[in-house]
Symmetry: none
């Protein structure tokens, strides 16, 4: 009676489930969630419409999995980078490296990011998942940078703020909207700003 969704164990099944997720990933990227229908996902995955519901509870469930996959693709390289931060290092080299990494990650995943972020507005579940991702990233990076002595105060606020900055710049950068903007110059502003952020201390703040 209870609706059952296959939890694929066989390699072939896992691969098929992944094909469906990939098809969803692509289509949501290209035309968005609401403009994608399940038949099209099935077609692109090379399976029947029926089997989609063998692996997923409903269309929304595909979205959930696509979101997870995206999260993973975004977080993995960042975490990996920060795992290598043990030795003494120079902030002036680190920040540009990070900026480049995020720009690249964004280049590869910009479209799905947009598509998923769009749902954030109406879909609590996706919104929560995004928050979870930000939380995890912020806390982990803040801890690391505090541990290695790079940031002394307001670590979480700084990290989160830096991530926001990077995020919106990456968006600008990838879509390259405005032709009156010199993006290489803007990139330098970003790098300087983030680098400066680390050094800011409470006492500095004349606005407090």
């Amino acid at each position: 009676m209870a609706k059952t969704v296959r939890e694929p164990k066989q390699e072939r099944s896992i691969e098929k489930k992944n094909r469906i997720i990939d098809a969803g990933y692509e289509l949501f990227s290209e035309v968005g969630y609401y403009n994608t229908n399940t038949a099209e996902i099935a077609r692109r995955a090379g399976v029947s419409t029926g089997i989609v519901y063998g692996y997923f509870r409903d269309k929304k469930d595909i979205l959930r999995e696509v979101t997870k996959l995206y999260m993973q693709r975004i977080t993995t390289p960042i975490f990996e980078l920060f795992e290598t931060l043990d030795k003494p290092f120079e902030p002036r080299k680190l920040v540009p490296a990070i900026v480049d990494m995020v720009l690249n990650a964004h280049k590869d995943n910009a479209k799905i990011h947009e598509a998923l972020h769009a749902l954030t507005h109406t879909d609590k579940e996706i919104s929560d998942e995004f928050i979870r991702l930000e939380d995890e990233l912020t806390l982990r990076i803040a801890k690391k940078l505090t541990d290695v002595g790079l940031i002394k105060t307001d670590a979480r606020e700084k990290v989160h703020f830096a991530m926001d900055i990077l995020q919106s710049f990456a968006h600008e950068y990838v879509y390259d909207h405005h032709d009156y903007i010199d993006y290489s110059r803007m990139k330098l502003l970003v790098i300087r700003t983030i680098t400066a952020l680390a050094g800011l201390s409470h006492g500095d703040n004349e606005f407090a």
Copy 2:
């Protein structure tokens, strides 16, 4: 037999058209474009479903008008503020004022902003409109700040960057997601960062 959309001249008609736009504005804010149907818009506007197509080519057309309205609501106060910038002024007072203004504007329009921004991804027209808005704001503000001597180099890049920063912070601030963040402290970081931005000069840049 070209499809004709009435361009209302009568006052009563204009008011009716506006009521439809307002209803769309509200509903798109509340549940997003895709979860709003035209019948509901008509009902909320207090008109018949049929007449909606007397004033708008299609559902998308309502979205276009809602977007325009939103743009206007956002830009007007900002432009008005910058019209008053003739006299000498202190950056340390100006930036916090601007930040507060943007935060307030965002508070009032956050939902529709999200809803519209969501469509940016799949809808070229909305996306273009957003770009136009950013262009206009950036160029006008950059000119002003250059004219009054506040910014000397890279004015457009700085202004645009500052707007991005403000934008993403406002998003954070309004939705107030993460409980491990002290938003008043983060706000100070934003103010300092933007203030510092004005003073940055080419020569300063050791990363170039």
Copy 3:
């Protein structure tokens, strides 16, 4: 937001709603509820599939209305008959008249009765509606027959039992299943049994 179902006021609309109910009535009669699809109902009613959902919440809602219509068709003639029972009357003439009336009513509505009764098993709503009908019939008839002095004891049990008997005989009679049965003779048994029922009194009962 709330799903709205038109409550038709216009004559034309009422007629259209009735056409849909009639189409449902016919189709449920012919092939049963589960073997009827909404498109077919719409087609037979001469309307579009969409408008069906303008008048009915869902397919089940059509069933509800069909049930109501059936109830009305069954009860009306019976109630009318019993309204005329004021004058002194002869049971030996009354019972055969009633039997014939029920047989005729059954002949006209046998199929839909079967179709609806079938749903009784899985559908609480229909089941309740049937019970309501039986209750109403039983109580009203029992009261009448007690008032006119025809039944002295256990009126409701007797009436209900007589209705059951008539019901199942009518079913047999209409479908005329078994060729080894002489139905005219069986009809006499039914008449005698029901007639006898009225006269049974408590004291008579040697099995008590």
Copy 4:
């Protein structure tokens, strides 16, 4: 390439086929034929969905077997009872015994009876099977009661009629719908009526 349905010879196979029938029996009882799907039947039977089609031509075929099983369960105790009717006996004791037996049988099988009877309306095959059952019961019982001298005229009509009465009373009794009915009293009416039926003779009939 005629579709082949295995006629299981192996004990293990027969047992498996029976498990499927039992599962169908239960599920049809609980939620009806149309609300039961083959996957669920297979699951409850502890077999794969595929093998169901090794033993049954289609879903309908399971229904056929379930019907047969039901018929058997109903008829066996009745026939057994009537086999013992050789000695002289008292009708006043026999009828209550039969009534109780039928009530019990109905209690155990009411749900499946309802479920199957429901299909009678649209399904010729099931309908025919029901008729066959009634035929067999009626003729066999009528013969017996004539042989032992209990009924002299219209035996088949009387037996069939009595069965109908019992049937509908059992339905009432088991589902116990109406709270304004005293069912123990109604039961006495049933017993008296059926007992009286035996004695009715042609000549008695003043309505002829």
